[in-house]
Amino acid sequence: MSDATAKEILYRIRRFEPTRDRAPRWQAFTIPRVPGMTVLDGLWTIKQTQDASLAWRSSCRMGICGSCGMLINGRARLACNTQVSEIDAAVIVVAPLPNFDIIRDLVPDLSPMFDAHAALMPYLIRDDAREQERPTGEFSQSPQELERYLQFSYCIKCGCCMAACPTYATDPVYSGPMPLAQAQRYNADGRDGGFLRRRAVLGGERGPWRCHFAGECSRVCPKGVDPAKAIQLMKRDLVWDYIRLRKEQCPAAVMSKPKAGTRRPDIPEPPPRTV
């Protein structure tokens, strides 16, 4: 842990302004240390008191939006979710997420990640478009079916897993852990019937085949998602599919509404609708 009694803390930040710099450079800032301070708080202090030109992305400050993913002391993390006191070093070293081009300072260009994400159709695919547009009921789903994909749905698309992936670092064709985990999230969803459409992409070079199961994606995920597991499950499903042993998933049907009952006399009428 860093020295919690110190009154000041040193930040080393990688800076890059493409219109001015030919290569990234490091800049040091010393700021007052405040109890409970996150790495993001420190960046705001630097911006407000020392260098207003420092650029990064952030929004919610509570680990929900996934904007402030950056490389902090060698590990991809959310700046808002990382306390300065939990970093085991005297200096906080901050750089943009690796494996992406840099737009400016700590702002990576995440568009390749979102392009790969969109290519794998991360949404429910069903034949009954009318039911999805104008639902008449709920799609049936048991708690066991929910468990098959629930943890993958916690992904906030921060890009930390992509930055930690050794395969994505070298292979530009590989989709990467986030898009693949999200494709598996929908393939495993009992309400979805889009496996065959996603297979057209996943069965090729952009699929899960280059994954070495290094597991770094799962280690760095700030939301506890396990993309490495999703990728292995996807490989298994695709192999079963190739040897015709995959159980074809029938998208869940709309549940029938409960039949009209008799209202108990001791239950009052609901108030009139206001909207």
Binding site: T170, G204, W209, K235, D241, Y242
Partner: protein, 125 residues
């Protein structure tokens, strides 16, 4: 588009074949004293003794498993090597060249190995 799904499935299948046949090899070669394979080692002594090797060489089962193991090992190994090389991000032309070289060398080694297995079977008989 589905090519990698197919190749990976065969890669896994080849791995299982290697596991089974290598298990069989290890059992015959190293568990002889425990399991007493008198029909596989009729001359007694070590399984690697010439008389025992010649006796096994007369059984059709062995050249068949040699060729099967060779096919599985070549496919599994060369496909793995192809994956490693592709991760170095070669261009499309180089990717095709790598695939062709690996297929040709794999087929060449398979023909050589098959010929050796068949020839030794003929010789033993």
């Amino acid at each position: 588009m589905m090519r990698d799904q197919k190749l990976w499935s065969w890669h896994v299948a080849a791995g299982i074949v290697i596991l089974l046949l290598l298990g069989l090899h290890m059992t015959i070669m190293h568990l002889d004293a425990t399991l007493k394979f008198t029909s596989l080692n009729p001359a007694g002594g070590e399984p690697i003794d010439w008389a025992n090797v010649a006796a096994r060489g007369k059984m059709l089962f062995f050249p068949i498993t040699y060729v099967l193991l060779l096919s599985a090992a070549l496919f599994h190994g060369l496909y793995g090597l192809r994956n490693i090389l592709f991760e170095l991000d070669p261009g499309a032309g180089l990717k095709s060249a790598i695939s062709v070289i690996l297929i040709v060398s794999g087929l060449g080694l398979l023909v050589l190995g098959t010929w050796s297995a068949v020839a030794s079977f003929d010789l033993a008989r």
